[in-house]
Symmetry: C2
Subunit: 149 residues, 2 copies
DNA sequence: GCACAATAGTTGCATATACAAATAATGGAA
DNA sequence: TTCCATTATTTGTATATGCAACTATTGTGC
């Protein structure tokens, strides 16, 4: 009762809303990585897909969706662009005619290697921005979400 | 040295990258709010602008940018849409012919009031998803970013 | 084997987002 | 006061994002 804060609808939302904050964070952090990756012609979103694909060797779009929590249509079009850029190879899945198999092309592989220093540079900046405690707590919070969703 | 983890480029990035995680979080959280707000024809992004405007009474686009860390061009077009929807009134700034003054219309005001329960519902879900510790640590991390940027 | 639900993807549509370049007005320095 | 850097905003272009509706295929229950 001691702290007299305004309590109109906009004030409450402004003070507490998780969505605004998460979205601000996403914009700020994405910008850091995008800037670092720009010389490579690569965007953060695309790098994420590249990484998932590289780790799994072969992926289906649906797998990318579930790992990155993206809409199928978003993945579909991102993959199109990356295929057009020559970074991904997409072929039909033998076992399921509905599905596709996505792999890195050699060009995609090389790109990822070349992107490594840029990513590291961005990663360092992001850590500085969040602070050590911020980083660990953030990752922890997100681990919850990943498991739940 | 005890834990033998893979250390190829994609593995390192997948294991540590802050950007992927923040972006996943943003997508998942945004979805919660978007779903709650959908019946009102309002999106999370627009709600954020509505709230900033409501709190300040009169805002310039540049002020919205700096508070929400959005690009000016993004704000410009979002405001356009919201003006077209009849939620915002935009007039020239008397003191600076370059600038605009943005206010809520009565319709915008009412919308925000009507959105309040939906927001609260989403806010509760978001909190459940993150857990109490997740929420506090997240807000803390973001406060750093806000101050820094 | 057939009807039908579930699954995998694509496409139409609309918003969101940012960079770069352009426009326009302000403010300050010479 | 004139020139110029700065500031406020818009517009062109491209990617990112998600919902809804659609196609195609698989698997399932009968």
């Amino acid at each position: 009762m001691s702290s007299q804060k305004t309590k109109t609808t906009p004030d409450i939302i402004a003070r507490e809303c998780i969505a605004v904050r998460v979205r601000i964070l996403s914009r700020v952090i994405t910008k850091i990585y995008d800037e670092a990756l720009r010389p490579l012609g690569l965007k953060t979103s695309q790098m994420n897909i590249l990484v998932v694909t590289a780790r799994l060797g072969v992926v289906r779009p649906a797998e990318i969706c579930s790992r990155l929590k993206m809409d199928m249509s978003t993945v579909s079009r991102n993959v199109d662009r990356m295929k057009a850029a020559g970074w991904l190879k997409v072929v039909a899945d033998e076992e399921d005619a509905r599905a596709r198999q996505i792999r890195l092309s050699r060009k995609g592989s090389k790109l990822l290697e070349k992107a490594s220093p840029a990513w590291e540079e961005a990663q360092i900046k992001a850590k500085e921005l969040l602070g050590p405690a911020g980083v660990t707590s953030l990752l922890e919070a997100i681990e919850n979400v990943r498991r739940a969703a």
